[in-house]
């Protein structure tokens, strides 16, 4: 056909233009690339060549060279020692006759400092920290004076003493100083032992003050009033301090065993030029977000600050397989790997490749050689670790950090997938071992949120590798209570796998013991819809059919509403008049609509959109009355109808709730309220009327509602910021225009006082969204309190919410049954709620506290005490 021909021609021209627009690589670009790619083939061979290339480059452009070096240092942390060597070699003065020519290396270093200062001004922590590592190497190489290096580290440790310093800030400052000290320790300790000791002591003092916060995020859901941190937990700052203590005890003689120092191999550490004195710095203060002013700042778009917690890393392997992160070598390796993970988030494939190339940049003998590798190293005693295991452990550790990982969870998941594709024979077994280790930790009070992420990783990973898992080895655990974390995990994983694939596919992968419906592993049927009025023998089958037929015939919403009114009067007149006819009619209407939209997500959206007027009318209470913010009972009925219709498919419950919130049929607060009352009757193993169990499914619903409420506030803030900016720009333009018309009449400045109506609307919207946010948070807190510290005679309280937090209770867990595990899990989600939503809760600390906790004043109730203690820690009051 002719259009194709023409199309082709057009495309060719297009591409040709594209090519022409391509930038031609300049000699400077080439040198920059050479600097960035330094060492990728053979660092020893390349060093003199690159040095010469830099020296030969004309015209001399110091800012350009230092920028290339800065990029190299801050984006390839594993290469820092080698860049230090490069700079050190640029200190050599081959031409000793011209004593007055400035030393090239020195010029670059001085300019490099400016870049560091810029990172610091922006409070770009990672870049700042990596530059400090670079300076530390240069101190050992003899380029930088030890006294100025000590001063630099001191100014970072000083941050720990700031009044009310946030944990995030303190942690990053301490890491920056501590990592610099690991590297520069040998020189600094020799220069001034007391300063080094003081630095370490100051960091210890800080770390000891964070015990409460640590308790909240230590990867363990031991519910008890006692503040216990599990012995095998690895907090990043504690690991660093432990490593520093080990090094310091031997005056940093150990640095050489954990940090490559290629610059010491050849060449002296004394030069003709005096050592560079790093200028003194002040770490700029934290940007404080003041409520209400945020929107005016505009630039940060009201994003909520995170990372306020100590960081615990899950440990999979023993110290002979992967390094102990509390030792100097182990800490350095993990820090390098975590930085690599974070930096290369933009390209997971490259990230995987670089992680597997890491041994090249560490000391020889640190890792076992790859199978079939030609390079022979003597294994170092106490090292000789397995690379893939170390890398997988580090990725999982970063993925499982509480309350949130620093990158998107799916990044870590797909990164592990890439590693397994790159190196199936070594990464695969490491993944298998990690799964088994995490699975066994489930029985040892592994935090519920960690377990949730574990299940998510497991399902997505299996989806990428043919769903091959040896389920058989977990068959004996089917003897445990159905609510035991291991069984809950198995159920959850199977459910998630089915969502990613389909029922028969997953059923096929399970051993017969797990196929048995009595095992509560997998449902008998594929997760389909369950239209309550489907069965012709159902008393309301006929009524539902009439509604269904209207939907099928695409009747307009008004006609359906009219019909529902008729139906209501009919039902009231019949002998069923004694029951809640309003609820019944809502249920029939909602379920029939869902039935029409049950074929796919798109069908659902079409159904909702076509009958928005009907849904609004239903939500507003009286079937025919309209308008208003809706009626809580009616909205709860709608949610119940959804949950009933999709009781065999919990994914759909979440999806429909989300869209009902999106279309503003229900509010996030309605979903929260509904979840605490009804959640666990959906497709769970709990029978109606039993105590509430807040499992991961209910948590997902709560999270969906809270995130919706919080996300709306952010959108509203952004909108205001944009409108304000437009407004300002318009005014500025108007002013400029006025100024130009010198001869025209000068009008009084009217425009300034008129508020932009769009802005006014946006401000009002924001106000009500903030109200809704607060209500959703408050309802959640209330829900947890009424579950965990139920008042006498509360509706279906969990009888064991108090007994499971007894210090001795955990040791008797072998005898725990449904109510015990339910209570334990609910406590776990409460912990996640307060720590994950802490940044939001902190905005309303006082109001929420008065509303929810004042009733416990003077009451002797261990559950109330624990609720309050966790609340206080999360909101930064304890």
């Amino acid at each position: 056909m002719s259009y194709r021909y023409g199309g082709n021609r057009k495309r060719y021209r297009d591409d040709y233009e594209d090519r022409r627009r391509e930038v031609i690589e300049t000699p400077e670009d080439r040198l920059k690339t050479a600097i960035i790619k330094f060492g990728e083939v053979d660092v020893v061979e390349e060093l003199p060549r690159l040095e010469q290339q830099i020296r030969d480059f004309q015209p001399l452009n110091i800012p350009f060279l230092s920028e290339a070096l800065r990029i190299s240092v801050t984006e390839q942390p594993y290469k820092i020692p080698f860049y230090a060597t490069l700079l050190r070699n640029l200190y050599n003065t081959p031409d000793s006759i011209h004593e007055n020519t400035p030393v090239l290396g020195r010029l670059i270093l001085e300019d490099f400092w400016k870049g560091f200062q810029a990172y610091l001004d922006k409070v770009a922590w990672r870049e700042t920290r990596l530059c400090i590592q670079f300076f530390a190497h240069l101190t050992v190489a003899g380029l930088i004076s030890p006294e100025s290096m000590v001063a630099l580290l001191q100014s970072f440790v000083a941050v720990l003493d700031e009044f009310g310093v946030s944990h995030g800030r303190a942690k990053k400052a301490a890491q920056a100083a501590g990592e610099g000290l690991i590297i520069a320790g040998p020189v600094l300790k020799a220069h001034s032992p007391s300063s080094v000791n003081d630095l370490i002591t100051a960091m210890h003092t800080y770390s000891e003050s964070t015990t409460n916060a640590k308790w909240l995020v230590a990867l363990s859901s031991r519910a008890s009033n006692e503040i216990i941190i599990p012995e095998n937990a690895h907090e990043v700052l504690d690991s660093l301090l432990n490593a520093l203590d080990i090094l310091n005890a031997a005056d940093f003689a150990g640095t050489v065993d954990c940090i490559p120092q290629p610059y010491l191999k050849d060449g002296a550490t004394t030069f003709d030029v005096p050592k560079y004195d790093l200028p003194s710095v002040l770490v700029p203060p934290e940007i404080i977000e003041v409520e209400g002013i945020t929107s005016e700042a505009g630039s940060d778009e009201g994003r909520i600050k995170r990372e306020e917690w100590p960081e615990y890393y899950f440990r999979v392997f023993s110290n002979d397989v992967s390094p102990d992160p509390t030792t100097p070598a182990g800490y350095v390796i993990r820090s390098n790997l975590v930085d690599t993970l974070d930096i290369f988030e933009i390209n997971r494939k490259e990230s995987a490749r670089l992680l597997l190339e890491y041994p090249k940049w560490n000391l020889p003998g640190t890792f076992k050689p790859k199978p079939g590798s030609t390079i022979e190293h003597e294994p170092v005693v106490g090292k000789d670790w397995q690379l893939d295991s170390t890398v997988i452990e580090t990725i999982l550790g970063a993925y499982l950090v509480l309350p949130q990982s620093s990158q998107k969870p799916i990044y870590y998941i797909s990164l592990i997938t890439e590693l397994c594709k790159l190196s199936p024979s070594t990464a695969g077994p490491a993944v298998g071992k990690s799964i088994r280790k995490l699975y066994s930790a489930l029985a040892e009070s592994l935090d519920v949120e960690v377990a949730r992420r574990f299940a998510e990783w497991f399902a997505v990973h299996m989806s990428n590798f043919g769903f091959q898992w040896v389920w058989k080895e977990w068959v004996p655990d089917l003897l445990l209570s159905p609510q035991h974390p291991k069984r809950a995990f198995i159920r959850r994983v199977v459910e998630l796998e089915i969502r990613l694939a389909y029922h028969e596919r997953i059923l096929k992968t399970l051993p017969p013991e797990m196929e048995d419906p009595e095992a509560y592993v997998i449902s008998e049927q594929a997760p389909g819809a369950a239209f309550e009025y489907e069965d012709p023998s159902h008393p309301h089958h006929e009524a539902a059919q009439t509604v269904l037929n209207l939907f099928r015939g695409r009747a307009n919403a008004e006609d359906v509403i009219t019909h529902l009114d008729t139906l209501k009067s009919m039902l009231e007149a019949s002998d069923e008049g004694h029951m809640d006819v309003d609820s019944l009619v809502r249920s029939i209407a909602v379920q029939s609509l869902l039935n029409i939209g049950s074929r796919s997500f798109s069908h659902l959206l079409n159904g909702i959109e076509r009958y928005l007027a009907l849904l609004r009318s239903l939500a507003s209470g009286g079937v025919s009355s309209s308008g208003g913010q809706g009626n809580a009972k009616a909205k709860s009925d709608i949610l119940t109808a959804v949950a009933s219709f999709w009781r065999r498919n919990r994914q759909m419950v979440g999806i429909v709730f989300d869209k009902l919130m999106q279309y503003q049929i229900v509010d996030p607060t309605d979903v929260v309220g509904w979840t605490f009352v009804n959640g666990s009757i959906v497709g769970g193993v709990r029978e109606p009327g039993m105590p509430l169990n807040l499992s991961v499914f209910e948590w997902d619903l709560l999270k969906g509602a809270l995130d919706k409420a919080n996300g709306r506030v952010i959108i509203a803030r952004r909108k205001i910021a944009t409108l304000r900016k437009e407004d300002d720009d318009a005014r500025a333009r108007a002013k400029a225009k006025q100024g130009m018309e010198v001869d025209g009449e000068i009008k009084p400045d009217e425009t300034d006082n008129v508020e932009n109506p769009a802005l006014e609307t946006a401000l009002k919207a924001s106000e009500s969204l903030v109200k809704e946010q607060k209500a959703a948070l408050s309802r959640t807190l209330e829900g947890f309190i009424s579950c965990l510290a139920p008042p006498e005679g509360g509706s279906n309280p969990n009888p064991n919410s108090r007994s499971v937090i007894d210090a001795a209770a955990w040791n008797n867990r072998a005898t725990w049954d449904r109510d015990d595990w339910n209570a334990w899990e609910t406590w776990g989600w409460y912990r996640q709620f307060v720590r994950e939503y802490a940044p939001y809760l902190r905005k309303y600390t006082n109001t929420l506290e008065t509303v929810s906790f004042s009733r416990f004043e003077g009451v002797n109730d261990p559950a109330a005490d624990l609720l309050r203690k966790l609340w206080h820690i999360a909101t930064g009051q304890e």
Binding site: E75, I304, I343, E350, S463, G466, A501, S600, G704
Partner: protein, 227 residues
């Protein structure tokens, strides 16, 4: 942060032949787009499966989420033909998919994501001659997840089968219906290849490499391949 490696969230070279924008305008639009084109889906993959995977790139806390999914359909049969559009509320979520979902498996096939200008009426239909995607028109391999052979090959296949079926329509029975013809000769009949339409899986990950290589080679065939 992209001095060392190329980020994965760059749009491909694809240019929608039916979109009336030039390349620079397109690049600008893609720089804000919150819609993704998803390719190499199995015909059997459901919107809910797509939702499950892509919700992992959503960021509700930041005001995002999956807005809608538009399933790509064969324009004749109105059945899924192996692509879809996923629309988010924010651009950042679309970028996250490019980084973390593109090149991973969904329903045991390696899927491909690309930033897209956004859904326009009619774009949900395949643009191939046979109703499906153009890439399925000339495909030479047997892909059970995408209806077996490519459409053209399938047409050939059907043609061949019809010939085979018609050939002996005049066959008779009884003595003398079969010629003697001499010793050692045996009638071989026609061999048939069954066109399996059963749900199947992509045979191997390695296929991805080959497909990708082919993709970059035939860059100017891109839009033919895509729609």
């Amino acid at each position: 942060m992209a001095h060392v490696v190329t980020p994965l969230d760059q749009p491909s070279n694809y240019k929608d032949s039916q979109a009336r924008v030039d390349r620079s305008k397109q690049a600008e639009l893609l720089g804000k787009s919150s819609t993704l084109y998803i390719g190499n889906l199995s015909f059997y993959t459901t919107e809910e499966q797509i939702f499950e995977l892509f919700s992992k790139c959503a960021n509700a806390e930041d005001g995002g989420g999956i807005k809608r999914i538009i399933m790509g359909l064969d324009k004749n049969t109105r059945t899924p033909c192996g692509f879809c559009f996923v629309e988010y509320y924010t651009h950042a979520e679309a970028l996250a998919c490019m980084r973390f979902a593109s090149g991973t498996k969904l329903d045991e096939r390696i899927i491909r994501c690309d930033l897209d200008l956004g859904y326009k009426e009619g774009r949900q239909f395949g643009r191939g001659k046979s109703g499906g995607q153009v890439r399925d028109e000339h495909r030479q391999d047997y892909d059970p997840g995408r209806g077996g052979w490519g459409a053209q090959a399938q047409r050939l296949e059907i043609e061949r089968r019809r010939e085979v079926e018609e050939r002996y329509a005049d066959a008779q029975d009884g003595p003398g219906a079969v010629a003697g013809g001499g010793e050692d000769w045996k009638d071989q009949g026609g061999s048939q290849v069954e066109n399996k339409l059963k749900r199947g899986r992509s045979p191997d990950d390695d296929g991805e490499q080959a497909r990708m290589a082919q993709r970059s080679r035939l860059d100017d065939d891109m839009d033919i391949n895509r729609m």
